[in-house]
């Protein structure tokens, strides 16, 4: 009886894992099937106004890139503060708040940026989109930096100080280097996370049919356009949405796998 119960539970649990994998396979097959059949090289050469995706892909990368330029230094410096400088209550408070911010609904971040950037600027813009994404990114980068620096042994810090290096040199030259692989992986994963975001961009950057380098106006976004195209009744728009989804998912998964690969290889 005990053994039978044991077998049943183990079987159920294995079945659950298979269900999980089946969903992954189903989604990927759908994406590859629909995506590849709609994918064409010209999509990368034309902008949305001419039926392509070029401006959207570039726009999404530019906004995620600017978000990284803002979010990575701020997040890393904050992580460094938590692990290397601060102590006691204040560190615990910031750590907790950062954890909360990491799990805040992304649409709320969008609403916040709408209130503080879009309204004063009288319109949606690439800047607003980038800021929304950077706010998403900061707590993730803090978390990564904080965790990875905590793995660096205390002796390494002391050894640096004992050679007469000042603390910031020890942090930049030794500690960050020692935690480099973990931090790099974390940064890649956080980039993968924000580049696939839609909700914070819906009313901050919106999207645009045209190629644009002017970050003060509505900015082309791959994800926001997918939402619009998928809701469009014409089948050509839907095909384009599938192609865009395929490209988006491949980008996200590639960056993810790259991050894991780095950890596996060096770590």
């Amino acid at each position: 009886m005990r053994l039978l119960l044991n077998k049943i539970v183990l079987l159920l649990s294995t079945v659950s894992a298979l269900i999980g994998l089946a969903f992954l396979a189903w989604i990927l097959f759908t994406l590859v099937g629909k995506g590849l059949s709609s994918l064409h090289f010209s999509l990368f050469l034309n902008d949305l106004i001419d039926g392509g995706l070029r401006n959207l892909i570039v726009g999404q990368f530019i906004m995620a890139g600017i978000a990284s330029l803002i979010g990575i230094p701020l997040g890393m410096m904050a992580g460094i503060y938590l692990q290397e400088y601060g102590s006691g209550r204040y560190v615990r408070l910031i750590r907790d708040l950062s954890d909360i911010m990491m799990s805040a609904p992304s649409i709320v971040i969008g609403a916040f940026v709408y209130a503080i950037v879009v309204v004063p600027m009288h319109g949606t813009s690439g800047i607003a989109g980038s800021i929304a994404l950077s706010i998403m990114m900061i707590p993730i980068v803090i978390n990564t930096t904080d965790n990875m620096l905590s793995l660096v042994p205390r002796e390494l810090r002391e050894a640096g100080i004992a050679l007469g290096a000042s603390k910031y040199r020890v942090i930049l030259d030794i500690i960050i280097k020692a935690a480099k692989v973990g931090i790099m992986t974390g940064l890649l994963l956080s980039f993968a996370r924000i580049i696939g975001e839609t909700a914070p961009l819906l009313f901050t950057s919106e999207t645009s049919n045209y190629f644009s380098v002017d970050l003060t106006e509505a900015y082309p976004s791959l994800t926001v356009s997918i939402y619009a195209l998928a809701n469009d009744p014409t089948s050509s728009s839907r095909d384009l949405a599938w192609a865009a989804s395929f490209i988006l998912t491949m980008m996200v998964l590639m960056i993810n796998l790259l991050g894991r690969y780095i950890t596996r290889k060096k770590g």
Partner: protein
């Protein structure tokens, strides 16, 4: 230089607090007109974008919404034609009222369905990964599950609308866009997240404990039930609540499927709306009091998820000790 570096790092850390406070304050400020107008009654208010005469705000409810889909309740049908043609009685000053009850209920119900669907499967996957599968398989399946968690939520929404919902509909009937299909797709979306963090919690059980149970002749199931679950209980509950928080605030996976209709669902397979979806679909064209009401919803969502995450993090997942 040292001082400068330290100061910059301190300010970056403090920025988190400032950002969170600004989110709170700016949402509150933007919601203020709606908060002043509707008060706490907003939470129980079932009308969204409905014009009522100022003197008598409750009795003669006349419908038309600013939404794409016009929702007219059967009880008000006799008035609606007149109101659509004439825009209401010109003599009586009108105001538009907004209530959050429907999106709040929609959010809670879709989350509930998602949890009911995802919880048992996620537990099964976590047990499989942590205890049953050989290390190699566990690693490969683990990565696959984590990749599933990394797929952007908009993809879940599209796949759900075009491929998953029709199948669900063929089994249970009703609409393709409905509370049920939205909840299930939401469940599929939080499934890998929940499974991955639950697995991590289970893995904190010391091997010595498990080994001593096996040494007494316990079966794998008994070790899982009597050793691993009790030991990592707090972590597992915390993980589940974190997943709940994620489901509450999810926009895109739900936006394709819930229907974005401001009416209470008459059954599990009829369409309704959730807070994030209401925002996603109405924010762009909203003005005035409607924008403020949407901010009121955003504010409520922020508070709810703040509370949920705090409970998970501070009550169940305390990292230090």
């Amino acid at each position: 230089m040292e001082k400068l570096f330290k100061t910059v790092s301190f300010m970056s850390a403090t920025l988190v607090m400032i950002l969170l406070a600004s989110i709170f304050i700016s949402l509150f400020n933007s919601a203020k007109p709606a908060i002043e107008e509707f008060g706490f009654g907003f939470i129980a208010g079932k009308e969204w974008g409905v014009e009522v005469p100022i003197e008598n705000p409750v009795s003669t409810v006349v419908a038309t919404t600013a939404e794409k889909k016009v929702e007219v309740k059967p009880a008000e049908n006799d008035n609606s034609l007149e109101s659509m043609l004439g825009g209401g009685n010109d003599d009586i000053p009108m105001r538009t009222i907004f209530g959050g009850f429907i999106p709040i209920v929609g959010t809670l119900l879709s989350t509930l369905i998602a949890m009911a669907f995802a919880l048992p499967i996620a537990m099964g996957i976590a047990v499989f990964l942590a205890e049953i599968a050989p290390k190699q398989i566990s690693n490969v399946v683990g990565i696959a599950i984590e990749l599933l968690a990394a797929i952007p939520s908009i993809i879940f929404g599209m796949w759900g609308l075009f491929y998953f919902a029709p199948i669900v509909q063929s089994f249970v009937g009703g609409y393709q866009v409905s509370l049920l299909t939205a909840g299930l797709v939401l469940g599929v979306m939080i499934l890998p997240f929940m499974a991955a963090i639950t697995r991590d919690s289970m893995r904190t059980t010391p091997d010595v404990l498990k080994e001593s149970a096996y040494a007494l002749g316990a079966t794998k199931f008994e070790v899982i039930k009597d050793i691993i679950f009790p030991y990592s209980k707090a972590g597992i509950i915390g993980s589940v609540i974190l997943a709940l928080g994620r489901a509450l605030g999810e926009t895109m996976a739900v936006a394709f499927l819930i229907g974005s209709v401001f009416s209470l669902p008459s059954s599990i397979n009829s369409p309704t709306v959730s807070i994030p979806v209401a925002m996603a679909n109405s924010f762009g064209e909203a003005t005035g009091m409607k924008t403020s009401a949407l901010f009121y919803l955003a504010f409520l969502l922020f508070i709810i998820s703040f509370a949920v995450i705090s409970i998970a993090k501070f009550y169940f997942l305390r990292k230090d000790k």
